[in-house]
């Protein structure tokens, strides 16, 4: 049990800086997910917490103790690797019990704890097998058991599910969540998969280009993206963006001449500001032709999702996607009229990419 404090942490390889001053507080017992595209520095940050990468500048504290100069084994973290990193020459039991063996725990005690942990993850019948004779999901479980047996202060997960097939990934996600509910150990989970991130996280950290874009609950990050990047990265299909200019509080004008209303209490920007309007495809409502200020979209093609239908097309010389609810009949016409409810419109500064959300509501990094 421990909280983690990351203060102004930088990481450089030679002259290339890959993590640019990250500040983050991870609370005791929370499940924190770091989400970002590949190369955003999320794994590097995790490995710096683990002690597998040196910290170039700044401090990392685990349980209020500065760990910068501590070896991985002194930090009380256990890690689950992307490729599982099971010792191929050791049986499942030996893999799980290796940490205890290194710690010099007596064999009888070791075997007892191996059996307990293996039973927890459903590996009781596989203790004598070599990793090569296990399926992907079983290997994943061994990796989890190996991390659990040490009863660490912190669990670190480095994209542990990305090598599994879709069905198994969902199953393992649920098991990880269940495990966390039971053990309530502080966990940091790195992934590039937004569904994984949304479903697992108590709090979500979105990283891009070596900096934190936003920290918040999955709901906050989804409903109140702090930047254009967060808006575009989270949500599938991706958010629609339209270049616009603020006409007056609560109204933005798209170049094509359309006006779009937004919640003026939420977003503040002086008239004349160049902005980007973000609207999620699922927030758009189909309306009848001729409705004032309706967006008239040129339909190109449609995708059937079963639980809904995606209409791809163009509006104001940009790609535009609308998600129709299930049961909606296919669009037969060449154009589709949609309305964006003011509450569902996001406004981002075109220059900085940051949200124009009023400071009081901001959930961006401190």
């Amino acid at each position: 049990m421990a909280d983690i404090s990351i203060r102004q942490v930088y990481k450089s390889y030679g002259r290339t800086e890959v993590v640019h001053g990250v500040d983050l507080d991870i609370h005791d017992g929370e499940f924190l997910v770091i989400l970002g595209p590949s190369g955003c520095g999320k794994s590097t940050l995790l490995r710096m917490i683990a002690g597998l990468e040196a910290i170039s500048a700044g401090d990392i504290l685990i349980a209020a103790k500065r760990v910068n100069d501590l070896e991985p084994r002194q930090r009380g973290c256990a890690m689950v690797f992307q490729n599982y990193a099971l010792y191929p020459h050791m049986s499942v039991a030996e893999n799980i019990g290796y940490a205890l063996k290194v710690a010099g725990i007596a064999k009888a005690e070791r075997l007892r704890r191996i059996a307990t942990v293996a039973a927890t993850v459903g590996l009781g019948d596989f203790l004598d097998r070599l990793p090569a004779h296990l399926s992907g999901g079983q290997r994943q479980r061994v990796a989890m058991a190996r991390a659990m047996i040490r009863e660490p202060q912190v669990f670190l997960f480095d994209e542990p599910l990305s090598n599994l097939d879709a069905q198994l990934r969902v199953q393992m996600r649920i098991e990880i969540r269940r495990l966390h509910r039971r053990l309530a150990t502080t966990s940091v989970f790195v992934t590039h998969d937004q569904i994984e991130a949304m479903t697992l996280a108590d709090r979500l950290v979105v990283m891009n280009g070596g900096t934190i874009e936003q920290v918040g609950t999955p709901s906050e990050v989804y409903h109140r993206p702090a930047s254009r990047f967060v808006g575009s990265f989270i949500g599938s299909p991706a958010m629609n963006f339209l270049a616009a200019t603020i006409a007056r509080p609560g109204i933005a004008t798209i170049r094509a001449g359309h006006a779009i209303a937004f919640a003026e209490t939420d977003f503040t920007a002086p008239p004349g500001t160049q902005v980007e309007i973000g609207i999620r495809p699922e927030d758009l409502i189909v309306t009848s032709p001729g409705t004032p200020d309706a967006i008239e979209m040129q339909v190109e093609f449609q995708e059937e999702l079963g639980a809904g239908r995606l209409v791809h097309g163009r509006f104001a010389e940009q790609d535009f996607i609308v998600q129709l609810p299930a049961g909606h009949k296919p669009v037969a016409s060449l154009s589709l009229f949609v309305l964006a409810p003011a509450q569902a419109v996001h406004v981002f500064d075109a220059q900085t990419g940051r949200s124009c959300r009023a400071a009081a509501c901001s959930t961006g990094p401190a």
Partner: protein, 294 residues
């Protein structure tokens, strides 16, 4: 092996293979065939006629205590030089794999000795181990008679073992380093997270995963020590003192070309050949198949 290019014309296949086949035949099968023939006949020292004697050459060889002494020395040499060359190479490779400061330079420099011809290395070591010069002159001044490979058989054996191993450290180093670098980094990291220190990781993770390399090198080292030691011995000790370094391969040369006992030397060659073949068989049969982890 379902996909291989098919040549339409057999003569083209024959033509392309001919140079290699010719080389192999001239330099391997022909001499080996001649040795086999001589081993079962009695050759005149100055040529001219021979008589078939069956296994007589072998019977007298195996009854010869000098021969068995040579076999014993060869085993000592093979084990000692293999252990030394592999042990040193492993330590150096483990250090290089840790990527300590300047490892790139060591790595390159450590490969060079393999390019040095054995007799050239032997000449160098004759000076290094000379009792009247260098390090050993100093030691001999302090403890008279401590080191003299020209007088002491043990000293001579130590000298050829070191001189021979020196060259093979390079060879083994390349294989060990490649083997170590083939171990996924994440395994080492996982062990580090499990609380294992540097030495413990070497013992528990790196060495066990290196077993295929170790066995491969062990067979290669022993096999090569049977035949490749000739250059070193010929330059440094010539089998002496008092036959203390008269290994099997050197005895073949000595009995054959100095003693002009072609038939006896041929029989010894056959025995050595069978030994090397047996080790190669072990290599292919067991080592290549077993001890591989997925």
């Amino acid at each position: 092996m379902e996909h291989h290019a098919q040549f339409r014309t057999r003569w083209l296949v024959a033509l392309l293979l001919a140079p290699q086949v010719l080389l192999v035949f001239t330099f391997f099968y022909w001499p080996a065939g001649a040795a086999l023939f001589w081993a079962f006949t009695l050759e005149q020292p100055w040529g001219g006629g021979n008589a078939f004697v069956g296994f007589d050459n072998f019977t007298s060889l195996f009854a010869d205590s000098f021969y068995w002494a040579s076999v014993g020395r060869t085993i000592v040499f093979a084990l000692a030089s293999s252990c030394l060359a592999m042990g040193m190479a492993l330590v150096l490779a483990l250090f290089c794999d840790r990527q300590l400061r300047g490892y790139a330079y060591y790595r390159t420099a450590l490969i060079w000795p393999y390019a040095v011809a054995a007799p050239a290395a032997a000449v160098a070591f004759r000076y290094v181990f000379a009792p009247e010069a260098g390090v050993f002159a100093g030691l001999n001044a302090m403890y008279p008679g401590l080191w003299n490979p020209a007088m002491s058989g043990t000293d001579a054996m130590i000298m050829i073992i070191i001189a021979y191993s020196w060259k093979f450290i390079s060879y083994n180093f390349i294989f060990f380093l490649a083997g170590l670098q083939a171990i996924p980094r994440s395994l080492i990291e996982a062990a580090a997270m499990d609380g294992s220190g540097v030495l413990r990781r070497m013992r528990d993770i790196q060495l066990p995963l290196l077993t295929p390399t170790v066995f491969f090198l062990l067979v290669i080292n022993i096999t090569d020590s049977f035949v490749d030691s000739f250059g070193i011995i010929d330059i440094t000790t010539e089998g002496g003192p008092a036959k203390a370094t008269n290994l099997m391969v050197y005895k073949i040369y000595f009995d054959g070309f100095k003693g002009l006992d072609y038939s006896g030397a041929a029989a010894q060659s056959i025995v050595l050949m069978v030994l090397v073949m047996a080790l190669t068989f072990v290599q292919f049969r067991y080592v290549e198949r077993k001890i591989h982890y997925k």
